[in-house]
């Protein structure tokens, strides 16, 4: 990424969208809309002071909702260009009509520009490469896996963030149910502190204890100069919170990080209700995530439920075997029928053991869904814009003998935009698409190179 940002012959238009395409191979005209960042990218040094002080807290999409970010943000730490962007609808000043201006005050580079407008750019190019990637299938449409209802059923991408040292749990396998419990405790403690202060103030002011006031309220007697009902209600609320808190603390003491994991393969793939195709890479990322979880904590054991375990690249089969021998991974053949939950928020996996020909169930600490690779949102719109065909699943259509060509001359496609594939294949394809485009523009080489 860094190399792209620094390359003298690459004009990087981030936070931009193609709006119009005309012309033909060798001479396309493209109109690009560059959205307003409200930050002058030339001045911003990416230091992050603004985000540190920004008062608006927003759920962080990069951490798949498991963490927070600010309204002024960088999508992820290594992002290129290394500049900040204001998420306008979330910003007090821009989106909510309030007075704020904190980021502009703390920015020592004077890069904040609340007046910034979106820009339209017109480009002339000889060839186009579509590399718009893919999206992860939303598993909440599969009722039997209860992704929406059971906290400790997560997607592989969410699990990936939990495993990441820079993620919301610093790499520890804290269960989402416990993360939610912590948040609940935190919120209740805050409320408790506030109410406690109020009640203590009342006690000091009137020289009475809360229990005296509660007795008075029960007996229906009044105390001079005291709002008995109001005080009593606060005191009762306080007791209520204390009871809930002590129950939560008791529960928390019995919890532990996830040790027993299940991965369910082909969630939304190889399933005629959703996508018929195989998503190619998910078998390997499940093995990888199970390996990392084991390396993080040797007490972790994993079951991977799959129809076929597709380990087809160099070293993949060997890696899979090593996982089984050295990282407590068990490979279970079969499709999981249903996931339910017990009282301790543990997911229960129901499946048919094909080896024993029996329906069995097993309790896990956490279940990870290996979700399908589906066409990016907006692929259909792009296909219309660029005048290229899609195949039946909604990926850009290519031919096995011309694997980079779309249906329109001069427009090429690489990576998961043409179907699921892993990183090495995507990287190889990207070079190939570049070769195709370069063959086309070879005669005009160096004619339109701008200095950077």
């Amino acid at each position: 990424m860094l190399d792209v940002g620094r390359h003298p012959k690459i004009n990087l238009l981030a936070y931009s969208e193609v709006e119009e395409v005309s012309g033909e191979v060798g001479a396309f005209q493209i109109r690009v809309k560059q959205k307003a960042r409200y930050v002058n990218a030339d001045l911003c040094t990416g230091c992050g002071s603004c985000a540190e002080k920004c008062p608006s807290i927003v759920v962080d999409a990069y951490n798949v909702g498991l963490g927070n970010r600010k309204a002024i943000f960088k999508y992820f730490p290594q992002g290129i260009p290394s500049v900040y962007t204001i998420d306008a609808p979330q910003c007090r000043q821009l989106g909510q009509g309030k007075k704020c201006g904190v980021c502009a005050k703390v920015c020592q580079a004077n890069a904040i520009d609340y007046e910034q407008k979106e820009r339209t750019l017109d480009l002339e190019v000889g060839a186009i490469i579509l590399a718009t990637g893919y999206e992860v299938f939303d598993p909440s449409v599969i009722p039997e896996y209860a992704y929406d209802r059971i906290a400790n059923v997560v997607t592989a991408l969410e699990f990936e963030r939990l495993l990441s040292a820079s993620g919301p749990t610093a790499g520890h396998l804290d269960r989402p149910s416990e993360i939610a419990m912590e948040k609940e405790i935190e919120a209740l403690e805050k409320e408790h502190k506030k109410l406690d202060r109020q009640v203590k103030q009342l006690e000091e002011k009137h020289g009475k204890t809360s229990s005296e006031v509660l007795d008075a309220a029960k007996g229906g007697t009044s105390i001079e100069g005291v709002d008995v009902a109001g005080w009593a209600s606060s005191a009762e609320k306080l007791h209520g919170i204390e009871a809930v808190l002590s129950e939560l603390h008791r529960k928390k003491a019995t919890t532990h990080a996830a040790k027993k994991l299940a991965f369910i393969q082909c969630v939304g793939s190889r399933d005629f209700r959703f996508n018929r195709f195989c998503s190619s890479y998910c078998c390997m990322h499940s093995v990888k995530e199970a390996m990392i979880a084991y390396e993080h904590d040797n007490d972790v054991s994993t079951s991977i439920f799959c129809m076929d375990l597709r380990a087809v690249g160099r070293g993949f089969e060997e890696y899979k075997l090593r996982g089984g021998k050295q990282a407590n991974i068990r490979y279970v053949r079969g499709r999981v029928a249903e996931i339910t939950e017990d009282e301790a928020k543990n997911p229960i996996v129901w499946y048919e053991s094909t080896a024993n020909r029996q329906v069995v169930h097993e309790v896990f600490d956490m279940v990870v869904l290996a979700t399908a690779c589906v066409p990016s949102h907006g692929t259909k719109k792009l296909a219309d814009l660029f005048g290229v065909e899609l195949e039946r699943n909604g990926f850009f259509k290519t031919h096995p003998l011309a694997p980079l060509n779309t249906s329109r001359p001069g427009i090429f496609v690489c990576g998961c935009a043409q179907g699921p594939m892993d990183i090495p294949e995507s990287v190889a394809q990207a070079s190939s698409a570049a070769a195709r485009a370069a063959e086309l523009v070879a005669p005009a080489r160096h004619l339109a190179v701008a200095a950077k």
């Binding site: 860094l2 620094r6 040094t45 230091c47 992050g48 002071s49 540190e52 290394s82 020592q108 580079a109 190889r270 018929r276 195709f277 195989c278 190619s280 076929d308 375990l309 597709r310 380990a311 087809v312 690249g313 160099r314 070293g315 993949f316 089969e317 060997e318 075997l321 053949r333 094909t354 080896a355 020909r357 195949e391 699943n393 990926f395 031919h399 096995p400 003998l401 011309a402 694997p403 980079l404 179907g419 699921p420 594939m421 990183i423 090495p424 294949e425 990287v427 190889a428 394809q429 990207a430 070079s431 190939s432 698409a433 570049a434 070769a435 195709r436 370069a438 063959e439 070879a442 080489r445």
Partner: protein, 557 residues
């Protein structure tokens, strides 16, 4: 007399990234006390326009001849500051960077004193090293704008055409008497339904009529000398030798199909492999009432652990062909995992099922048994043995590395893996490059690949190879190995053997055998300098004296 060393130190606040957690004022004051330091400046952002201008002005006004910036990571900012020095009139390699953000303020955020003290150490070390830096000149080397592609299968043909179509000359070397490789032996291709021979004929036509391609059939590569931009290749065509020069090389030498001798009663008649089945299709001699196909014949076993990636699809493709040729023929396909990864493959898998191909999973521990007229397989779902009638058994065997791979790997000084397939430079980031610059790989030489994948990889390898061809000149940073003490070198060759990039060679000189560094191939990793017991080799800007001084500065606080 050596010039007076005048070092300027620029300490960056990085907004509050550094200044918020370290005592930067104190660091700047401290830098002033260090030997040879004549100028110190604290910047809000050294990398901003202001900071850059301050460096340039100080080089001029303060007559600085060394610059040290204490800020962030050289990975992101060293090129900028080196460029600044150059613009200020100073050799860019008289610049030293100290990382007090990633290594101090970020990791010691809660420990202001400790972090500041560590930053003091790092700055002192950087200043000590800077005093010993020597100017370096960027290394430039012309590139011979011609390519050689080894292997005339679909990968080699595709790569050669892609390079030729960009206007560069390609020599395509094939050891067999004709082009086409494995594809020549195949019948129909899936999922395109195209005849393999039609495709081969089309591609051969394109190769033979392309004026930029020189085709050498029945030719073997005997020797390759040189390095990126300057390879000299010796080929042998039926005893006739020829030398020619190229700038880049693509390895597309393919793979071979395993003959499953000794497996599942293979006899080449009633028990054959997929390639032999395709030959029967081609010859129109296929006939059978009941066919049993067995996957993983010789793959994913203890002697050959890897999965050969494409055999499931070959098995499914040929099962479909049988059903299309002869719908009455019963086809059973026995498998361990069906590797129908992706969109098209899974569709073919469904198509086979629709046509009535029966898929039965078997356990490696209880493999099918082939006997005359029948195959016995343990059906896991039924929990019992099934006896399948057969008058033809087809074994899906893996692709195995070419018999020449070991020799080629020595010839080109590139790596092969434990299965003798060629090994790419980086599994994720450089799937088509070797670690050695100027040599690329694609297709089955790398690992079993479908036609679609082989074509993609071939185009990609051509694209990678075209980069030095298009540039015409290689520009390399001078942070490379150099023979600093020729007399000390005994020509033992230990460094040559250890160099991962083929950047060293032994040559005969008047003084005897001496090592020679090929700077454009060197990555400056330092393995050679660390290995040389004679201290004859050093890495520019990372010499023993410079690193030694840095360590001494650390110890003598």
């Amino acid at each position: 007399m050596a010039e007076e060393i005048r070092i300027g130190v620029f300490v960056c606040d990085c907004g509050s990234n550094i200044a918020g957690y370290l005592n930067v004022k104190d660091l700047a004051e401290y830098a002033k006390t260090l030997p040879n330091v004549v100028f110190v400046k604290e910047n809000l952002y050294t990398c901003s326009e202001n900071g850059i201008n301050e460096i340039k002005a100080a080089i001029k006004d303060e007559k600085l001849n060394r610059v040290v910036v204490a800020s962030c990571s050289p990975r992101t900012h060293e090129p900028l500051f080196r460029g600044t020095c150059e613009e200020g009139g100073l050799n860019p390699y008289l610049f030293e960077m100290v990382n007090i953000r990633d290594q101090c303020s970020w990791v010691h955020m809660q420990e202001r004193e400790v972090g500041t003290s560590k930053a003091r150490d790092l700055i002192r070390m950087g200043v000590a090293k800077a005093a010993l830096l020597q100017p370096q000149e960027t290394i430039q080397s012309e590139v011979d704008q011609r390519a050689m592609v080894m292997g005339g299968g679909i990968s080699g043909i595709t790569a050669a055409l892609a390079i030729a179509n960009r206007g560069y000359h390609v020599t395509l070397v094939e050891k067999a008497a004709e082009l086409g490789g494995l594809l020549r032996k195949l019948d129909k291709l899936a999922p395109s339904d195209l005849d393999a021979s039609t495709l081969v004929a089309q591609q051969v036509e394109l190769v033979t009529t392309n004026p930029n391609i020189r085709l050498l059939l029945s030719t073997r590569v005997e020797e390759v000398r040189g390095y990126i931009g300057h390879f000299t290749v010796t080929v042998n065509n039926n005893g006739e030798k020829e030398d020619f020069g190229v700038g880049v090389i693509i390895v597309a030498t393919g793979a071979e199909v395993l003959k499953p001798v000794g497996l599942f009663a293979y006899d080449g008649e009633r028990v054959i492999n997929q390639l032999e089945l395709e030959e029967r299709f081609k010859a129109g001699s296929f006939s059978a009432k009941n066919v049993v196909i067995i996957q993983c014949a010789g793959a994913r076993i203890d002697e050959r652990k890897y999965c050969s990636r494409i055999c499931c699809m070959v098995g499914i493709k040929n099962a479909i062909t049988i059903k299309e040729l002869s719908p009455e023929t019963g086809v059973f396909l026995l498998y361990r995992d069906i590797q129908a990864y992706g969109v098209e493959n899974e569709e073919l898998y469904h198509r086979a099922k629709e046509l009535g191909v029966r898929f039965i999973n078997y356990d490696q521990a209880i493999p099918p048994v082939v006997e005359p007229g029948k195959v016995t397989v343990h059906h896991q779902l039924l929990g019992r043995e099934l006896v399948l009638p057969q008058d033809l058994v087809v074994l899906s065997t893996p692709l195995i590395a070419g018999e020449d791979n070991e020799a080629i790997s020595k010839l080109l000084r590139v790596s092969i893996d434990e299965n003798k397939f060629f090994l790419e430079g980086h599994v994720k980031l450089k799937p088509l490059d070797f670690a050695t610059d100027g040599i690329y790989l694609c297709g089955n030489a790398h690992y079993p690949a479908s036609l679609r994948e082989a074509v993609s990889q071939a185009l990609g390898a051509a694209s990678r190879a075209s980069i030095p061809l298009a540039k015409g000149v290689m520009t390399v940073e001078p942070i490379v190995s150099t023979l600093c003490d020729e007399d000390a070198c005994r020509g033992c060759g230990l460094c040559v053997a250890l160099c991962p990039y083929g950047a060293l060679e032994i040559e005969r000189t008047e003084k005897g055998r001496k090592v020679k560094v090929i700077p454009v191939a060197c990555k400056g990793c330092g393995v050679c300098a660390a290995t040389c017991y004679q201290h004859a080799l050093t890495i520019n800007s990372y010499g023993d004296d410079q690193l030694g001084e840095q360590i001494r500065a650390f110890l003598n606080a």
